[in-house]
Amino acid sequence: MTNIVVFAKLVPDLVEELEIADNGIALDMEWLRLIINEFDNHAVEQALILKERTGGEVTVIAPQAEGVDEMLYTIAAKGADRVMMLKGDFEAGVNNHALARAFATTVQTYQPDLILTGVQANDDLDGAVGPLIAEYLGMPYIGYISGVSMAGDKLSAQKEYPGGLIAEMEVALPAVLGIQAGEEPPRYVAISKVRQMMKTATIDEYDVAELNTSGGVTANRMYAPEVSERAEMLAGDEDEVATRLVEIFKEAGLV
């Protein structure tokens, strides 16, 4: 019986326009559309696969934020046994060090054998939470993981290196892994099932009394990339663009 805890996080949807707040050092949250960090989705999938294979319980924890209920109900509908929301002052300025400390404290009540995080989040500035939690809990950490199997109190993890090379690593449990990809693509769940969960499932809550923010970094300035060599943009509709592209390919000797 394995106790698996996954941390999930909402991140900016990067397809939307990102605006910088008036203070110049944070994203403007007002217009931001948040979605689950894609690697957390993979971490949830990996946890559910392990549970199906070896038994156990999956708990998913996320800090309070706009839209977090929906994310947690969706995860419950996929098969997580327990979903929990950390309540506290998580407004702008909270760094990963503070969060990792809060997680480390919270998670101890579950006595996890295995903790999974996404390998990285797209808005991360002061380092991924996974290694921080691992160290605060005195557990080993391995990241860039794309496959996990368990045998007793040992776990074997597939760690990705460039070019498709994999290192199979063994680690003693309890441990923390940073998931890059689950063994299978994240499963889909019907909206109707999520709606049903909203009626039947409960989100546990845990109050984080005080956030200890030491060790985090503060930005001096945030700005959109200064573009020095932007592409030559081809104007016109798809027909004109296609015509121009064929010319370009001809000039380059490609057709």
């Binding site: 900016p12 990067l14 326009e17 990102l18 993979h42 990285q120 797209n122 808005d123 991360d124 500035l125 002061d126 380092g127 290694p131 921080l132 160290e135 080993p140 391995i142 860039y144 760690k159 990705e160 290196y161 460039p162 070019g163 498709g164 090379l165 994999i166 290192a167 199979e168 063994e170 003693a172 441990a175 940073g178 890059q180 990809a181 299978e184 030491s214 060790g215 985090g216 970094v217 001096n220 300035r221 945030m222 990339p225 200064e226 573009v227 932007r230 592409a231 943009m233 081809l234 798809e238 663009v241 296609a242 592209l245 064929v246 370009i248 390919f249 001809k250 380059a252 490609l254 057709v255």
Partner: protein, 318 residues
């Protein structure tokens, strides 16, 4: 605390990784402000030949059989002692499968600030690129602590951190107790599929392709232009194409004559695998997509509107 800048070298199976040279270039920039030396840190076993071309003032070499291959725990334990003893002004790690495993652990263990995704040093500031390449952030070094920095490629060329004269390497003592993590084996990437790193034309598809069925459209273009289809991470993670077709940090680096990117945003992890293509054509509906910053030509249109007329005109031209 000294003004010295440490660079933790990365190597894999006897090969130094380019990020090591890139970090040296950044460290050199930073040392101009801090006034210290650029000191390389090499952990390994019988690995001294790896650093024959590094542009470091000197190298600290920790040799131990348990460090022959990367082990997150062995590396972190060794480095935490060294950083405490030497008190450098900053330490560079790769934002990679190696560096990212240890920088966070050291930050928590030693209570040191960590700045991620650094792409460049500007006037003593650390400049990071986050949010898939859409946002830049500037931070400063901590006043009285060692700052840990993880580095991504894109701001420096590896050649900027290379030198013909090998630096002197001074050994330091390494003692490693039992470790909870061990390397069992390496698993080689699957062979047999097309080798995208040797194709002259690549049709690259991203999440914008929407479904596995649509890949056929890209395949048609690839056949007309005499090339192959490759992809960004989400396409491979969905299982729509095999891992052999992945371009970027965890995939292959490619250098085709033409890289036609369809529905790819241009996140730094993708760009590091295709930035050296001779010609990049990017098709994306988002005018702010970072791919346009590395493309030769771009068009802000729907890829599904473009493919049919493009196929027609290519057929006519053939």
């Amino acid at each position: 605390m000294s003004g010295d800048i440490f660079v933790v070298f990365e190597h894999l199976r006897g090969q130094i990784a380019d990020i090591s040279y890139i970090m040296l270039a950044a460290a050199r920039d930073l040392a101009q402000t801090t006034g210290g030396e650029v000191i390389g840190v090499l952990l390994g076993h019988n690995a001294q030949d790896i650093v024959s071309h590094v542009a470091a003032d000197r190298v600290l070499y920790g040799d131990h059989p348990a460090l022959a291959d990367f082990n997150p725990e062995g590396y972190a334990n060794t480095l935490s002692g060294l950083i405490q003893a030497e008190g450098p002004r900053a330490v560079f790690f790769g934002s990679t499968s190696i560096g990212a495993d240890i920088a966070g652990v050291l930050s928590a263990r030693l209570g040191l600030p960590l700045v991620g995704s650094c792409i460049q040093i500007g006037e003593g500031n650390i400049i990071s690129k986050i949010c898939g390449g859409k946002i830049m952030v500037e931070t400063v070094l901590a006043d009285d602590d060692t700052t840990l920095i993880t580095m991504i490629p894109g701001g420096y060329k590896p050649a900027q951190g290379q030198s013909e004269t090998p630096p002197t390497a001074t050994p330091f003592e390494v003692s490693i107790d039992s470790l909870r993590i061990s390397l069992k084996q390496y698993i080689e990437p699957e062979a047999g599929d097309v080798d995208i790193s040797s194709e002259k034309v690549l049709i690259a598809i991203g999440r914008g392709i929407q479904t596995a069925d649509n890949i056929e459209l890209a395949q048609e273009l690839a056949e007309l232009l005499g090339g192959a289809v490759c992809a960004s991470r989400p396409v491979v993670d969905q299982g729509w194409l095999p891992a052999t077709r992945l371009v970027g940090k965890s995939g292959k680096s490619v250098k085709p004559k033409l890289y036609l990117a369809l529905g790819i945003s241009g996140a730094p992890e993708h760009v590091e695998g295709m930035a050296d293509a001779e010609m990049v054509v990017a098709i994306n509906m988002d005018p702010n997509a970072p791919i346009f910053n590395v493309a030769t030509y771009g068009a802000e249109i729907d890829l599904f509107d473009l493919i049919d007329p493009l196929i027609e005109k290519l057929e006519a031209a053939a």
